[in-house]
Amino acid sequence: MPSNKQLVVSAIKDGTVLDHIPASNVFKVMNLLGLQNAENQITVGFNLESGSLGRKGIIKVAGRFFKDSELNRIALVAPLATVNIIKDYEVVEKKTITLPDEIIGMEKCANPLCVTNHQPIKTKFAIIKEDNSIKLACHYCEKVTEIVYL
């Protein structure tokens, strides 16, 4: 990458760079993308300085390109993440994360009396977007829980 500035996390030749991840959610993003068992070369940066997030995390995955449906899984933990597709050290495409209208089988319901916490049921939430937060409305117990960012 033609730049005079030194990169904190070294560049990759081909692959995907996930930037602007909240520093505290880097591990969650790794898990949601199934990277904990991947064999690709992965470099991770924690607590890097960021203008918008304060401290951010960055994940660079060499030799791996994600489908949009995979990327959107991280919408709840890193809604402001940017995704750069790298080919031969150049950014060839930039993507942003799209919050889906509902998520199935990913989050646990926060209500201890919800039937999904007692029976083998895939959770299902409608996502309600608001300015600085996202709310999850459980399809089963109808409870709404709030996830606050930043």
Binding site: L113, C114, V115, T116, Q119, P120, H139, Y140, C141, E142
Partner: protein, 302 residues
Amino acid sequence: MPKSLISIHDFSKDEILHILDIAKFMEKNRCQKILDGKVVACLFFEPSTRTRLSFETAANRLGARVIGFSDTANTSISKGETLKDTIKMVSNYVDMIIMRHPLEGAARYASEVCDLPVVNAGDGANQHPSQTLLDLYTILQTQGRLDNIRINMVGDLKYGRTVHSLLQALCHFNPEFIFTAPDELKMPQEYKTLLDSKGFPYEETSSLTEHLNDCDILYMTRVQGERFSDPMEYEKVKNVYHLKADMLGGVRDNMKILHPLPRVGEIAEDVDNTPYAYYFKQAENGMYVRMAIISYLLGYNN
């Protein structure tokens, strides 16, 4: 998938009014053998008297037969059978499932694992839509209208599912609310936000007498010990309101007192003999409304 009644949100305003219409017909014609040959399952995974008996009576009055259980001790559930298996098994035998379950969302889940109409007769602290419909029926019966009702909700407004569902259903009808509750049991913010967003007025008080004289409906509720995790909290608030006949001197002529029952100490027995007491008639109405729900979901619309 056939139409089920899981949450009051499942019915539009028109459907609600249609159910109330059918209920009115049922009240005039208490025996309708339109469901002759049908079998209805009443699955009560949690104890209940009024709701179970009125659903069973409603099914019987329509000519249907009823099977089921009223507690889980003598069933395969005590052997660890999953809810899905119980529902799937029963759904092979019957034409409709009416169920109460202590876990929230259980009825919604049941409606997804079988191909029958399911009626939620209470899922934990979540929904109890037949109660809401019978409350609406009773308000309509006593006031001659549902629009522009000024209703004073009293007691446990924090955990009480009946008041939450009734509040949501009344939002179809331009209501005004008074919330009478001790600080520990105040109406949760989410419902007040809902009213704010729709522009419906509400006032809050902790005094039972403050708004007795300026409401059309006094909706009393029991403080439910079983919903408290801390017994000390329950002791503090359990006897906070006690309505007596001599407090009713200045109320509106059309005012009626409703209560989902059972009552424990909220309404003194001397109130029963005043013209304002309507909770026993309200409980009776439950049967007509449940007849209406059962027949509507099984496809009998007229």
